[in-house]
Subunit: 152 residues, 2 copies
DNA sequence: ACTATTTAGTTGAAGCTTTAACTATCTGGA
DNA sequence: TCCAGATAGTTAAAGCTTCAACTAAATAGT
C-alpha cells in the first residue's frame, strides 16, 4: 500500500502558495467592499446576483446553493436574513412539495444596484487589470478545469 | 465623475465565475480532509506548516499571520487553541517587548505528519493532476500576480 | 397500495472569524 | 527627555458557518 504521493516540487509549491494566497485573500477583499457599500457579504451578493439573472428572478433553494458555491444549510441561514431584510421572498414550489423557491424583491434589486458599481470596479482592479487578454482566457480555462473537479 | 467601469464581458464573466468557484470550494475540500485526518482546519495546517519551515521552528505572530494569509486577531484565537492542544507554544520576544513568538512543539510536528500524506494526495488530485506542466507554471505566474496586488 | 429510501429544507448548538476596544511597548521628533 | 503616534497582540461580543438532528414530501421496489 504505497499511496505516498511525492511532496510538491519547487515549481508546484510556488504555484500552490500563490493559489492558496488568492483563495484566502480574495474573499476578504470582496467582503470589505460589499460590506461597506451595501451591507452584505460576498456570498449574499452572489445569491442576489444569481437570482437577478434567473428566469422570473426565482430559483429553487438547492439549485441556488449549488450555483452560489455554498451548502444548503448556509444558504438557508442567509436566506432567512435576506428575507428579514426584505431583499428576497420565499414560497413553496407548486410542482414539488419538498422544494422552496426564492425570488428577488424590488428591495433586493435596489440593494444589488448599490453594490454593483463598486464591486465591478474592485473586481477589475484586483483581477482583470493585472492580466492581459491571453492570461484572462488562460485563467478561465484553468479555473474551469479545477472547478469541474471540485464540483465532483 | 464617470468612474463607471464597464460590466464584465462574456469571457471575463466566465473567468470570474470560475475563479470565484475555486476560491469558494477549494477551502471546503481542504478543510474536509484535514478535519478528518488530523482534527484541524486548513488555516491551522498552514500555520503549523509555516512554523515547521521557519528558522528554529519559530516565528513572530504578525509575520506568521501575514504568511498564513489571515488577520492577526484570527491567528491569535487559533494560536490559543493550538497552544491548548500542545501543538505550539508562545513566549515573549527577547528583542521587542511588543512581540510574541510562536514555536512548533514535538506534538505539533507529529500532528502535521498525520495530516501531510492525505493533504498532498488531495492537493495533487484537485489541482496538479488536472493541469499539465505548462498550465501549472502559468497558474503560478497568474496567481503570483494577483496575490501581489491582494497583499497591497 | 405499502414501506424504505432518497431528496429538500430548516433549525439549534457549537465553533470559528471579525470587529472594536483595550493594554503594552516602541519610535521619531520637539 | 518627553510625548504623540505607530506597532504588536489579546480579548469580549457579535455575526456567520458548519454539523447534526429533524420534518416533510417524493420516489423506488415489492
Amino acid at each position: 500500500m504505497n499511496d505516498e504521493a511525492p511532496w510538491l516540487d519547487d515549481d508546484e509549491m510556488t504555484t500552490w502558495l500563490g493559489l492558496i494566497g488568492v483563495v484566502m485573500r480574495l474573499p476578504v477583499a470582496l467582503d470589505e467592499q460589499l460590506r461597506r457599500d451595501a451591507r452584505m457579504s460576498h456570498f449574499e451578493f452572489g445569491v442576489l446576483a444569481h437570482l437577478e439573472h434567473a428566469e422570473d428572478q426565482t430559483m429553487r433553494m438547492s439549485d441556488l446553493a449549488f450555483l452560489s458555491n455554498g451548502s444548503l444549510s448556509r444558504l438557508s441561514h442567509v436566506a432567512k436574513r435576506l428575507e428579514d431584510e426584505g431583499l428576497i421572498e420565499r414560497f413553496a414550489c407548486p410542482s414539488d412539495g419538498r422544494s422552496t423557491l426564492a425570488r428577488l424583491t424590488d428591495g433586493g434589486r435596489r440593494r444589488l444596484a448599490e453594490a454593483a458599481p463598486g464591486h465591478v470596479r474592485l473586481v477589475r482592479e484586483l483581477v482583470f487589470d493585472q492580466l492581459d487578454e491571453g492570461e484572462t482566457a488562460e485563467l478561465g480555462r484553468i479555473a474551469g478545469r479545477l472547478l469541474e473537479r471540485l464540483k465532483q
